[in-house]
Symmetry: C2
């Protein structure tokens, strides 16, 4: 950059932080890049932080000390979260979503960038205090959502599959009973996928009884790793036997294929 004034600094800092959520940038990085003093930079960062909070575009966190710096946390304002959850609820309550067998068609939702981006931001807020090394999911419908959560947490995504593929080297396989199908299914993950002692956040689109969560927990214990939280977009009202911090955004209250009636509620835990 040639002439570096305040405007140029603000644009560069804002763009760099927003493009790299949860990534710590040292003040030295910006000072060198923008040839400015630390005091000047601190003022810029304060201003950006203020505007973000006022407009609900996320927030900045500064870390002091030698290894310190600043990073961007892509959370939304509470009122924007509620507006989004209401929108999602109404969208899903469309009776045309009921497909044969009494299931709900949600593929368009779980692969719609506008939707999963916002859902992912809510999961960031819900699990911000956890120490997380990986985001995990099971193929295939939760992958796009989990990929956003991974992006926003700046952590690698690992995907467990339902059948092992020979292109992944040796794998760890476990069997579990799917709450959705009631059948025994297999979950497999490449041995190279997760390091020992890792803390993992599991993200999925849908949860019924929690069989998949227990499967993931067993799978992770084979890696000497642990599940620190579970975030799902939609859960049924079935009793879940899940002994880990678990949050769903929406709850499927009623699905009546005959009357073509389908009702969701917003999980009060999320918006309280």
């Amino acid at each position: 950059m040639q002439k570096i004034g305040k405007s140029e600094r603000l644009i560069f800092i804002t763009s760099t932080l927003v493009q790299n959520p949860m990534k710590l940038f040292s003040l030295t990085f910006f000072c060198e890049k923008l040839s400015c003093a630390k005091s000047t930079l601190s003022e810029d960062i304060d201003l950006i932080s203020q505007i973000f909070e006022q407009t609900g575009q996320g927030r900045l966190e500064t870390v002091s000390g030698a290894a310190g710096g600043v990073y961007y946390i892509p959370v939304m304002k509470k009122e924007d979260e509620i507006e989004f959850l209401n929108f999602l609820k109404n969208e899903l309550q469309n009776p045309e979503r009921i497909v044969s067998g009494g299931f709900v068609y949600i593929n368009d939702v779980v692969f719609n960038p506008e939707v999963i981006k916002k859902a992912a931001r809510i999961f960031v807020r819900l699990f911000l205090e956890k120490e997380i090394d990986y985001i995990a999911t099971v193929e295939a419908k939760g992958i796009a959502l989990a990929s956003y959560v991974a992006q926003y947490f700046n952590k690698p995504l690992v995907v467990a599959r339902n059948s092992s593929k020979f292109t992944e080297g040796s794998t760890v396989n476990i069997s579990y009973i799917s709450g959705t199908t009631g059948k025994i299914e297999t979950m497999t993950m490449a041995k190279k996928a997760i390091k020992k002692g890792a803390k993992v956040l599991f993200i999925d689109d849908f949860m019924r009884g929690g069989g998949t969560v227990r499967g993931m927990k067993d799978l992770l214990s084979e890696f000497e790793s642990s599940l620190v939280g579970v975030g799902v977009l939609i859960a049924t009202k079935d009793k879940k036997s899940v002994d880990v911090d678990y949050k769903s955004l929406l709850v499927l209250e009623e699905l009546n294929a005959e009357n073509k009636k389908i009702t969701f509620s917003i999980n009060p835990q999320v918006i309280s």
Copy 2:
């Protein structure tokens, strides 16, 4: 926002555009949000555009007329693309990636946010001129990458699966010969997934003979939709029978399991 000065405007506009790639924002939206005149806003946008081009953070495109506005295109500078592709090439050439059966372990790469984010930005540049309605992929390894491409193009992602799930309503299924396994496989997609007459960009992690691409083309023709381009992270040197605009970022030149030697090259089409 209370006092809205130039600094506040620049932060808000930069953050809004960068958080929503390819989404057109009318000038009126910003003028109302920031209580400023269009001429002032145009100056702000020009300045942001300049800084983005100078620092390689993407570029802004303005559309004139009543339906006009401004949007952000998340492309990288050519030199950053080359630096990234060299990094990726070196990363993949690690002999420890060769797994039994003579395959390459790439799961950590295709699910690493830092990597696929940059790869996705290159695909944006490569297919920017195409009219695109959907980004499609086949489960599971390409999904994270395709999800970024979908985000950057601001288009929905659709995922073809290898077996139909009863939760998706009626599906369209086709059989194809996988170039990787040499076997007949099935590709399935929910009937509701794609609208008629759509233009689709197919993104995947790996391509050998192109069987999956032909499968996807057949599948799309069932939806009266068409394939307008194919972007893959890595392709082998095998002859591809693919009659559509296809670009791979890297080419697998040699894989010798005995000597533990694995070599990639950067596709010259991409960086020329």
